[in-house]
Structures are given as C-alpha cells and as structure tokens.
C-alpha cells in the first residue's frame, strides 16, 4: 500500500507492506524499521530503528475537518492521500481560483459583519468580528474576490468550523 502524505504541506511517499511481525515501511525510498502499537484510541507507540531503537508516542488530533499528529511537543498538520482514492482527493483540493469559505476558527458570538454580499474584498481584509471569552477577533478574507454568500448573523453564536462567509 502506498500513501502520499503531506506533513505541514510537505509531501512524502510512504509504502506500508504487511509482513509477519508488523509492517515493512519505506519512506521516500528509504526503508525504516518500525514497531508500531496502538495503545489507546488515537495514540500510537512507535519504536523506530534496529540499533538505537527510538521510542515515540504519537497522538492524533482531529479538529473540525483537519487532522494533526503530535510527536512529543510538536504538532504537525497531516493529510493522507490513499492512492485508491486519489482522484477524489485531488478534486477536493481547493485552489486559489475557486470559491473560498471563511470558517469560524473557534466557537463564539458574531458581533459584527463588516461586508455585504456582492462587495469586493482584498485578501486579508477584515470581514467578520467574533467574540469569545470577552475578547474580539477580526476574521480576514481568505482571498481577493467578491463576497458571494454570508451565513453569519450578528448576535448569534457559531461553532468552530462553521462557514461564515464565502468569497469567490
């Protein structure tokens, strides 16, 4: 099985082949001896190497529709593309040309909508203000374009990951 894996946006090729005692693991053409065990849901214990068998605890975190893994104190954004699902993955990868959704990065209350449908906005221009825990946060347009949809309503609560505005 071969996967295309993006770690913080950087692409790697990972081959995993089931063998008697676990997996044969080849990362970007380099064979890596791996001993892996799931010790709890979303927690993987890895021992890597033959001599100098380094022990790692890797934790998977899902937030909205993103996935991260923690290795020690460092958090990596990950995306795994299964070759069998490659077309779907490629199709869903947005690019700058299409419409972009501005999502709420945390739950909060919409205190101000600063744009109107049809309005032109610059990339980085403030479009929505959300308040949480008594602090206000101005959310910025993800790209230059025209506001095609506003779902946020002033005075209402939103959840993390809710779409607030679409810019096209």
């Amino acid at each position: 099985m071969t996967y295309e894996i993006l770690i913080d946006g950087k692409k790697s090729k990972l081959e995993l082949q089931l063998i008697e005692q676990g997996f044969r693991c080849v990362l970007d053409g380099r064979e890596v001896p791996v001993d892996a065990q799931i010790v709890a849901p979303d927690i993987l214990s890895l021992v890597i190497g033959e001599n100098g068998r380094r022990s790692f605890e890797v934790t998977r975190e899902r937030m909205n529709d993103e996935t991260f893994v923690w290795v020690g104190n460092a958090r990596y954004a990950v995306e795994v593309r299964d070759p069998r699902a490659r077309r779907t993955a490629a199709a869903s990868a947005g690019d700058a040309a299409g419409p972009k959704k501005l999502k709420a990065p945390m739950p909060g209350k919409v205190v101000k909508v600063m744009v109107a449908v049809g309005q032109e906005v610059e990339a980085g221009q403030g479009v929505i203000v959300i308040e949480a825990m008594k602090m206000q946060n101005e959310l910025k347009s993800p790209k230059q374009g025209v506001v095609t949809k506003i779902t946020a309503v002033e005075g209402t609560n939103v959840n993390s990951g809710d779409v607030l505005v679409v810019v096209e």
């Binding site: 927690i43 104190n73 739950p107």
Partner: protein, 501 residues
C-alpha cells in the same frame, strides 16, 4: 470534633470551585455547586455534593447574581459561602448580604473590602500606617517650578499623570528636566480635553518594575501573619501567566520588611481571612504599595507548596472563628514552586481565546507536580467565561529543580480539540532570562518580540509514518469483545482485516 461548617456553597465555577470542594470534602463539609445553563456538565457540578442551576450563561445572569446565590444557600441549608476569585469575591455588598442572611462569607468583612476597594481611600489608610508608595505628589502641581522641585527630589525619570485620569490619557514619561515643561503643558491640556480637568501630578517612574505580592492571613482574634511572597512579573495584557514562590530576588531581610509592611496594610484595614498585598519593586529593590486583593488568589498553590500549608483549609477554619494554628515565627519557606496558567487560547493567533470541546487530554503526574484543573476530556469550554483551564504547578528543592520538573510535566501534557498556551510555557521555562531569574513586567513582551526560534519540528518523518499507520489501522475492525488476548497483537488483526479486502 464539631465540624467547622455543615455545608458550604461555592459561588464560583472552574478550577477554583473544584479546589474549594476538595477542601470541603477533606474537612467533612458538604459542598453545594451553583451553575449556569452551559455549566450543567462542568467539573465543579460533578464534584459537588449538591448542585443548583442559577440561570443563563451570561455571568451577569448567573454567577454575578447575589440574590439567586443567596436563595440557593437558603434552599440547600448552606451555612457558609466561599466566593473563590473573580465574580462576587470582592463585592462588599454581597458580603454584607451574606451576613444579613446569616450565612458566613468566607473572606474579609464588607468594611475591610470597602477600605481596600477604592485606590484613593486605600491610599489614605495606608499612608496613615506608614506604607511606602511610589514617591511623588498626591495633588495637582501648582507651577512648573513645583514640578521641577518635586521631580528633582524623587529623581528622573518621572511620570506625569492626570488626577482624573485613566487609560493613558494625560500621561507623560519624562527623562530629564529639559523635557519637563513641555510635557507638563501637554499633559495638562490633554487632561483638560479628556476629563474636563487639567490637574496633573508627578510620580517617580518605575522602569521595568517587578510585580511581587505578599500573602497575608488574619484570624478574627487579632492575629495577622504573612506567608512569603509571590513573584508575578510574567504578565500579558496585565494578566499573570507564570507565578513563583519565593521571588528570585527577595532575601530573608527583604521578605521580612515586605511581610511586615503587608501585615500593617491588613491591620490598618481591619482585615480578616486570606488577602494579598501587591507591590511594585524597582531595580534597586525598593518596594511600593500597589493595591490589596481581598480574596484568595489564582496563584495561591505556589505559596501552599513552599509553606506546606493549605490556604483553603485555613480560610475555612478562620471563617469558622478558629485562631490561626501557628505564629509568624513558625512559618518557614522550603523549596521553590512555579505555576503555569493553562489557558484556552491560540498561540498561532495572538493568543486569542479558543473555547470549544476538549477532545483529548493527557495529563502529567509524578514527583513535584500538582495540577488543579476545572475541565476534562469531553467537556466543552464555554465561550462566556475566563479561558483558564487548569494550573500546572511544579515544586522542587531549588528553583532549577522546579523548572525542570515543570518542563518534564509539560512534555507529558497534551490537550486536543482546542488550542492552548502550553507551548508558551515550554518557551518561557527555557528562556535564558527566566532561567537567570531576570524578570520584570516587560519580560513576556520582550520574549515574544524576540526570535521565536521557529517551533522545533525535528520529527516530520515520524509524523509521516504515524499518519500512514493510523490510516491503515483505522481499517482494522475493533474487537466486539473488550477482552483482548495477551498473545493477540494488533498485527494479527490487521493481517486478518487485510485478508478480507
């Protein structure tokens, strides 16, 4: 032994409510929680012996509603109320209402709170008690000549401040006499424009002060003691982030002088129960009274670890009329403790609050580590309150041992689903100035402005391998039966699953 109280209502939420409930349980006292609509599943409700709803999420409709809280106290038959910190804890009117309702308020009297509540009134009481203030004038300057005279007496740099002021309006920092006249004119006209009152006074400017506070405790029999100091100079937006006890710069003599001053402050106000006297400390280690906090502080655990005392037990005992069980000379500091305030905030977005559901929590334990938490995995941190999730406290024989134990504990600590400031502490605790104890209120802004040192991410390869393995193993069906054979490895199950494809 007669119990101190029968039942205590805790008029608070989060970690401090849990901490007070633990003390109640230890002392054989029933605890009563109150909660707003979004807090039904909060940890403090789970830990309480009784629990009562008090209204909508907004604190003004629930945790700040003295009437509702006193009504619950009556229904539940509570004979005392612990206010925690924040909310109603420094509200003299609430303390007065408790007294009127025959419910003991665990804290100072309304009168003592009022003496300390207003800064100008506090200043009058404190002057009478011989407490040091930042040198300067209390009233407006009559002339530039007087300004020059005062400034040269207290020494430059000086700060000009509008008497009616606030928010930085009418303020000027002056480094030498050459700049004084124009600064005074500017400050006066700005004050006039902003407040309709051009009165301006002078204070010595304390450059990069330390913020050091002294814990005091007074019983209802006239005994007042000090329990060492806390260094609280690491602040962001005037919010403390890391506190420690003792301060790296306070020696036994300075501790005694600060402590005795703090006791005079408390006595001048007729203070009872736990309180904290805050000081500004300049680079020559002169200390100046800032204000008194008439409640238990967030950072009280560092004092507990270093004095070996339990301040909440003491609060309850003293409120029940018991005398302090020790004298000043029996108080001793041993070792060093450092506290990190774990907030729900996003380190990648200017530490903006990040409420939401905690999907995962791996918590540190072991030697020298204490954690006071108000949350749990599965809990949704509401958007309405303070972002404090938990306090992580490290203790050691020495400051260095406390520091490395805390770093070790931070390595064991993961919170998933929301963003937290855990990474900030890893950076602070490794900072060279922090390690050297070179702290002042500008420390954190300086550190943040410095090289971030680009978050170390040495294990991208491991992350890639793990990501692939997680994906493969997701395809392995979970066993219906929770009992797993010792001999049966994940691999065999994976192999079977693979065979089925």
């Amino acid at each position: 032994m007669k119990p101190l109280f029968r039942k205590i209502l805790i008029a608070n939420r989060g970690e401090i409510a849990v901490r007070v409930m633990r003390a109640c349980r230890e002392l054989g006292i029933a605890s009563v929680a109150v909660y707003s609509e979004v807090d039904r599943k909060a940890l403090h409700v789970r830990k309480a012996d009784e629990a009562y709803p008090i209204g909508p999420a907004a604190a003004s409709e629930s945790y700040l509603r003295a009437d509702k809280i006193l009504d619950v106290a009556k229904r539940a038959g509570a004979d005392a109320i612990h206010p925690g910190y924040g909310f109603l804890s420094e509200n003299a009117e609430f303390a007065r209402q408790c007294a009127a309702a025959g419910v003991k308020f665990i804290g100072p009297t309304a009168e003592a709170m009022e003496k300390m509540g207003s800064k100008t009134r506090a200043r009058q009481h404190m002057k009478a008690a011989g407490v040091p203030f930042v040198p300067g004038t209390d009233r407006g300057l009559a002339s530039i000549a007087e300004a020059k005279e005062v400034a040269s007496r207290v020494g430059y740099p000086v700060m000009l401040k509008a008497a009616a002021g606030g928010g930085g309006k009418g303020m000027r920092l002056v480094h030498g006499e050459a700049d004084l006249e124009s600064a005074l004119l500017g400050a006066q006209s700005e004050a006039q424009r902003s407040f309709g009152d051009g009165e301006v006074y002078i204070e010595k400017a304390i450059v990069n002060p330390r913020h050091i506070e002294v814990q005091v405790f007074a019983d209802e029999h006239g005994n007042t003691v000090y329990l060492g100091e806390r260094e609280c100079s690491i602040q962001r937006r005037h919010q403390k982030v890391v506190e420690e006890c003792p301060s790296p710069i306070v020696d036994a003599d300075m501790r005694r002088r600060m402590g005795e001053t703090a006791v005079r402050v408390a006595q001048a106000a007729g203070y009872t129960n736990a309180g904290t006297v805050e000081f500004l400390v300049d680079q020559e280690k002169n200390f100046y009274f800032l204000e008194m906090n008439t409640r238990l502080q967030v950072e009280h655990p560092v004092t507990e670890l270093v004095t070996g005392l339990d301040l909440v037990h003491l609060q309850i005992q003293v409120a029940a009329g018991e005398p302090l069980p020790f004298r000043q000379e029996e108080v001793s500091l041993r070792g060093h403790a450092i506290e990190c305030r774990i907030y729900a905030e996003d380190p990648d977005n200017n530490y903006f609050p990040s409420p939401g559901k905690i999907e995962m929590e791996m918590v540190p334990e072991g030697p020298g580590i204490r954690r006071d938490s108000g949350v749990y995995a599965g809990w949704t941190v509401p958007i309405e309150y303070d972002p404090l999730l938990a306090k992580l406290i490290g203790y050691g024989e020495t400051r260095e041992q406390a520091r490395v134990r805390l770093l070790r504990a931070l390595d064991e600590y993961t919170i998933g689903g929301i963003k937290t400031n855990l990474s900030l502490f890893r950076r602070i605790l490794r900072d060279a100035d922090f390690c050297a104890g070179k702290l002042d209120t500008g420390f954190l802004d300086r550190m943040m402005a410095g090289e971030a040192g680009a978050a170390l991410k040495p294990d991208a390869d491991i992350a890639a391998i793990a990501a692939g393995l997680f994906t493969v193993l997701d395809g392995v069906p979970k066993q219906a039966n929770s009992v797993v054979r010792v001999e049966e490895s994940t691999w065999k199950r994976a192999a079977r699953a693979d065979g089925l494809r």
